[in-house]
C-alpha cells in the first residue's frame, strides 16, 4: 500500500519528524503527489515552514518544494501566499500572528509551489484544520517542524506519519534504538490496559478539571499542588508516597518532564527500601497523551524496569513511517538495510523510503 492508502482514514493527518532532515517534507511531497493523482481535495498547513528553498539552520541543504494544485486549500501567511504568485480565493483571515506574518486560509485556483507556514500552537492548528474541512477539504495534512510533536496530539490529529533518518546518528544501531524508543512513546498503552480501573480513573481525571491527582485503588484521591510535575523533587515525592502508601496511579494534567521521572525513581526506590523490597509499590503515571511526555537519556523501558509504568488517556494511531537514509552533508546508510533493521525492531507499521526505487515500484 502507498502512503496515501495507509493514511486515508485520518481526516487530520500529522507528519512528525524525530529531528530536522528526517525527510518529513519529502514524505509530504510524496503524499501530495499521490493525493493529487487520485483527485482528493487536500488542505495543507505546517507548524513550521515548508517549501522553503534552503534549510533554515544549514543553508547548504536544499529542501523539496511543496507543490499544490487548483482546488487545494492552504493555511499560510499573507506574505508567503503573495510570494507564491499563485491565483487563489481568500477563505478566511485568521487572528493567528506568526513571526512570518498573519495566517490566511485560501483555495488555490492554479497549480504551483507555495511556502506553507500555518499556526504553531496546537489549538490554532486544530482550528485551521477544521476551517479547511468546513470549506470542503477531504483530508488535512499537518506538517511538523524539527522534532515538534504537539500538533500530533489526538486533540489535534486523527493519525500520524513519523519520519526518522540517518541524521539521528552515524551508528545505524543507534538510529534504530532511538526510532524504536520514539515509536514506543507514541504507542504508550491507554488506561484500557487496566480495564478494571479504566472507568473510575477516567471519571476522576474529568472531575479533577486540569489538576493532578494521586490515586489508590480505594478511597479519595489526593489533589496535588499546582506545577507539581514541573517542580517536585524526590524528597517531596517521597513524603507524598509515605502519606499515601496505597497510591497506585499518578495522574498528571500537564507535562511530564524527564526530571520528574528521575526524581520519582529515587523516591520509589526509597519507598521500596523502607518496605523491604517487593514490587507492590509499582506506580503508574497517567498523562493525557504521548506529546505530554518529555524523556531525555533514559527510555520508557528503563523506567519500566525501575517500577514506573506510563499510560495515556488518549492514544494516537501511528499509520506509517518514512525513513531518510541520508544525513545531509554527513553520512548515509544503505536504504534497504536501514529499513530491514527498523522493521525488525518495530512491529506492525509499514516503513518506507519514499525516494527509493522500492517505493516507486510500489506506486506502479
Amino acid at each position: 500500500m502507498l502512503l496515501s492508502d495507509l493514511t486515508a482514514s485520518a481526516r487530520r493527518l500529522a507528519l512528525v519528524g524525530l529531528a530536522k532532515n528526517t525527510g518529513k517534507t519529502e514524505a509530504l511531497a510524496t503524499l501530495l503527489g499521490e493525493l493529487r493523482a487520485c483527485g482528493r481535495t487536500v488542505g495543507v498547513t505546517s507548524v513550521g515552514r515548508d517549501g522553503e528553498e534552503h534549510d533554515v539552520i544549514d543553508a547548504r541543504i536544499a529542501k523539496p518544494p511543496v507543490l499544490l494544485w487548483g482546488g487545494s486549500l492552504v493555511a499560510t501567511t499573507d506574505a508567503l501566499l503573495r510570494a507564491s504568485g499563485l491565483p487563489h480565493d481568500l477563505l478566511d483571515q485568521t487572528d493567528v500572528r506568526t513571526p512570518l506574518g498573519r495566517v490566511l486560509i485560501a483555495r488555490l485556483r492554479g497549480a504551483g509551489a507555495v511556502e506553507v507556514a500555518g499556526p504553531s500552537g496546537a489549538v490554532q492548528v486544530r482550528a485551521v484544520a477544521d476551517t479547511m474541512l468546513a470549506h470542503g477539504a477531504e483530508q488535512i495534512l499537518i506538517d511538523g517542524a524539527i522534532d515538534r510533536r504537539a500538533a500530533s496530539s489526538p486533540d489535534v490529529a486523527d493519525g500520524l506519519i513519523m519520519s526518522t533518518g540517518a541524521v539521528l546518528s552515524d551508528d545505524i544501531e543507534e538510529v534504530v534504538t532511538q526510532t524504536r524508543a520514539a515509536v514506543e512513546l507514541v504507542r504508550l498503552p491507554t488506561l484500557a490496559a487496566e480495564p478494571e480501573h479504566d472507568a473510575r480513573l477516567g471519571s476522576l481525571a474529568a472531575a479533577a478539571g486540569g489538576a493532578s491527582l494521586l490515586v489508590g485503588e480505594q478511597g479519595d484521591p489526593a489533589l496535588l499542588p499546582p506545577r507539581f510535575a514541573l517542580s517536585a523533587g524526590a524528597r517531596e515525592l517521597g513524603a507524598l508516597l509515605d502519606e499515601h502508601p496505597d497510591a497506585r496511579w499518578l495522574m498528571l494534567a500537564g507535562a511530564l518532564p524527564d526530571r520528574f521521572l528521575r526524581e520519582l525513581v529515587t523516591a520509589t526506590r526509597q519507598r521500596r527500601g523502607r518496605r523491604g523490597g517487593g514490587d507492590g509499590a509499582a506506580l503508574t503515571v497517567v498523562v493525557a497523551d504521548d506529546t505530554h511526555v518529555f524523556l531525555a537519556e533514559k527510555s520508557l523501558e528503563w523506567y519500566r524496569r525501575q517500577g514506573i509504568v506510563l499510560r495515556v488517556a488518549r492514544p494516537i494511531e501511528l499509520l506509517a513511517m518514512t525513513v531518510n537514509p541520508v544525513a545531509p552533508e554527513s553520512h548515509s546508510f544503505d536504504s534497504a538495510e536501514l529499513r530491514a533493521r527498523l522493521c525488525e525492531a518495530i512491529a506492525d507499521v509499514p516503513i518506507y523510503d519514499v525516494r527509493d526505487p522500492d517505493y516507486f515500484a510500489l506506486a506502479k
Binding site: G48, E52, I57, D58, L100, G121, G210, S231, T291
Partner: protein
C-alpha cells in the same frame, strides 16, 4: 604597509556612472557613491605570511566573483597564518523591492512610547520570565535584554514601569523555567540559546514550546527566543512567536511584547 583608507581605488572609480537614486530592484553594496558595489572583507588564510599568500588572496577574491580585488592590509596573525583586509567590487545585485512588504518590518517604539502604550492598552504590569536554557552557559544575551543596565545605552526591561521581570540566569532546565513562568503568571517567556547545527540546541528550544503546549498555556504565553543565529524564519520553525538576533536592543523586544500582548487581549 598601506593604511585602511581606500585611496588606491579612487582613480578607477571615476569611470563609474553615479546614479542619484537607489534602484530598489537592483541594490548593491555602497561605499563612496551609489552603485559602486564596493565590499570590504577580512579573512585569514592558514599559510605563512609572504608575497605568495597575497597573490593567493587576490585570486581567491576573484574566484568569489569580486572585480578589481585589492589587498589593502595583510599581516601575520600568528606563525603560519596570514590575515587580510581586502576590497573588491561586487557585481551582483539584489531585488530589494520584491522583499519589501513581506511583513518582516517592525517599527520600534522608544522607551517612553512603550510605557505609554502599556499604560493605555494593558493597565497592569507585563510579566516576563527569561533564561538561557539547557546546557547553554551564556547569560549575556538575556542579561542585556532584561537587566536594568541593558545594552547599547538602553535600559533592559527591568528598568521599565511596564514590566515585571524574572531573570533565572543560565543553564536553566525547561521544566524549571516553565514552573516559574506559571508561578508568576508570566505573559512572556524569553529564552536565549546559541543555536548550532547540533540537534541538541534546537531540541532545547523546541522542548520548551512543547512543554508549554502540554501545560495548556500556549495561547496565553508569548514565547520569544534570542541568540546569535536566531531569525524569524528559525523562530517559526521552532514554534516561537518571535526570534531576536544580534543587534536587538531591549526596546525592540519590549515593543514586540507589549504589542503582541495588546493584540491578544483585544482578541480575547
Amino acid at each position: 604597509m598601506r593604511s585602511l583608507e581606500r585611496g588606491g581605488l579612487t582613480g578607477r572609480r571615476d569611470s563609474v556612472t553615479v546614479p542619484r537614486e537607489v534602484d530598489l530592484s537592483a541594490v548593491r553594496p555602497y561605499a563612496d557613491h551609489l552603485g559602486d558595489g564596493l565590499v570590504q572583507m577580512s579573512f585569514t588564510l592558514p599559510v605563512p605570511y609572504s608575497l605568495a599568500v597575497r597573490k593567493a588572496a587576490l585570486e581567491l577574491a576573484a574566484r568569489i566573483g569580486f572585480e578589481e580585488p585589492e589587498v589593502v592590509h595583510f599581516e601575520e596573525l600568528t606563525e603560519g597564518y596570514t590575515y587580510f583586509v581586502m576590497y573588491g567590487r561586487c557585481t551582483q545585485t539584489v531585488d530589494f523591492a520584491a522583499l519589501q512588504g513581506e511583513g518582516f518590518e517592525i517599527e520600534y517604539m522608544s522607551e517612553d512610547e512603550i510605557e505609554r502604550f502599556a499604560a493605555e492598552h494593558l493597565a497592569r504590569k507585563v510579566v516576563v520570565v527569561g533564561a538561557s536554557t539547557g546546557s547553554d552557559t551564556h547569560s549575556v544575551g538575556i542579561d542585556a535584554m532584561l537587566n536594568l543596565k541593558g545594552y547599547h545605552g538602553h535600559h533592559g526591561l527591568e528598568g521599565y514601569h511596564a514590566f515585571e521581570t524574572h531573570n533565572l540566569g543560565s543553564q536553566v532546565p525547561n521544566s524549571v523555567l516553565l514552573a516559574k513562568a506559571i508561578e508568576v503568571n508570566a505573559d512572556a517567556i524569553l529564552v536565549s540559546q546559541t543555536v548550532t547545527q547540533q540537534n541538541l540546541h534546537v531540541h532545547n528550544l523546541t522542548e520548551l514550546v512543547e512543554m508549554v503546549e502540554a501545560e495548556g498555556r500556549r495561547a496565553q504565553m508569548i514565547l520569544a527566543c534570542g541568540g546569535p543565529r536566531v531569525s524569524n524564519e528559525l523562530a517559526k520553525e521552532l514554534g516561537y512567536d518571535a526570534g531576536f538576533s544580534k543587534g536587538t536592543e531591549p526596546q525592540h523586544l519590549a515593543t514586540f511584547i507589549v504589542r503582541e500582548l495588546a493584540a491578544r487581549v483585544s482578541a480575547a
